[in-house]
Symmetry: C2
Subunit: 207 residues, 2 copies
DNA sequence: AAGTTTATTGACTAGTCAGTCAATCGTGCA
DNA sequence: TGCACGATTGACTGACTAGTCAATAAACTT
């Protein structure tokens, strides 16, 4: 409908657009050093509206981070519910971590920035620790159903670190198809962590 | 010597102080969003002097990053020359990565920031790729002297990712003694990557 | 239709910051 | 001693930005 420049939308829609624009901006700049004006322009609104909805720049950023976290969590939950064994549930977590949506360059950049920021800012830190704890809890829970060789907590930490490390390194290489490779490497790590790991681990990457 | 407020120093000294102050500032803020004035204040000089020596903010940041990279490289080279076998040289790389100086919170934060920035800025990217390539090359070279189970390049990538991942996650946990744990986890990964890995892998962490 | 609420913006402010420049001050050299 | 060069700075500016506010206009209520 040719409504022209002035369209009014529901509050939630505007919020979503602003958060999307925020993640885009942060992702492209690979830094939190982006202006509210730039974000608003991307969302097609005035900067005053961004302040109206989110209060301040920091609140907007935190909302964007929260959106990343919940998107990931929802994906994990959905995939977990579809898997039947502990081993395949581990694979589900891996798959979720490297899902195309999560693995997009801008998303990776945003995660990295938030990871860094979380180390100095309490507000960001609290948010990120929720994610870290939940992922650790999930990993440990599934590992408990498997014959882990060695310390279980270390195994969970190893998997989490491998995921984060591969995630972080994504974007530095030029080659595509890094996604499949990241999954393969992580799966191999998991198999290595399991005692008497059979060659066939039962995982299968999804296109 | 009570020289008072006005002391003149050699150019190189001032540069070092400014770079140190830059890394401190970036590390504390966990972001590149620090002012030249703040950095200069930390170094005990005027902001004009920082511009005098480095030209601009970006050049100062790049110099700081370069300093991180060469410090790490020097440490790796030193440790590599002391190790005798491929396996112990791998451990040397691990030890260097988690050396207390490299593992300090501020240093970790600075690395993380640079990692993120490297994905969008060509200048930062070039710099970081040098480090990534060299580390990869080192890892692959040592792995060639060992019975690797599976793809050698994937094994090198796995080790590198594990190091980066543990590195990134450092600072999120509250517990100390993460250093030893990070080393242990990485060593275990390496052993897992080697065919018929013996229980005693020959590495020994250094206090 | 009148009134209320809510979305939306342009214009403004107060503050910040990177980078410049001319002037000052040591230090070593002829 | 005098000179020249590098170190160092205070003061300044031009540009930019977060956040405010009052005004407008669409949508919703009754």
């Amino acid at each position: 409908m040719a409504n022209g420049a002035r369209t009014r939308k529901k509050s939630a829609d505007r919020r979503d657009e602003l958060i999307r624009a925020t993640l885009e901006s942060i992702g492209e700049a690979c830094s939190l050093d982006v202006t509210v004006g730039e974000i608003a322009r991307r969302a097609g609104v005035s900067s005053a509206l961004a302040h109206h909805y989110f209060g301040g720049k920091d609140d907007l950023f935190l909302a964007a981070m929260r959106s990343l976290l919940t998107a990931f969590r929802n994906d994990v939950v959905a995939r977990l519910s579809e898997a039947e064994t502990s081993r395949t549930r581990l694979s589900a977590i891996v798959c979720a971590s490297f899902a195309p949506a999560q693995f997009a360059p801008n998303t990776v950049a945003a995660w990295t920035i938030f990871y860094a920021k979380a180390q100095s800012s309490p507000r960001y830190g609290r948010l990120l620790r929720v994610y870290v704890r939940r992922l650790r809890s999930n990993l440990q829970h599934e590992l408990r159903g498997l014959p882990v060789a060695g310390d279980l907590e270390d195994a969970a930490e190893a998997i989490a670190a491998m995921i984060d490390g591969l995630y972080l390194r994504q974007g530095l290489q030029r080659a595509p198809a890094e996604r499949e490779r990241a999954i393969a490497i992580t799966e191999k790590l998991i198999d290595g962590l399991l005692a008497h790991s059979p060659l066939d681990s039962g995982w299968r990457s999804r296109a």
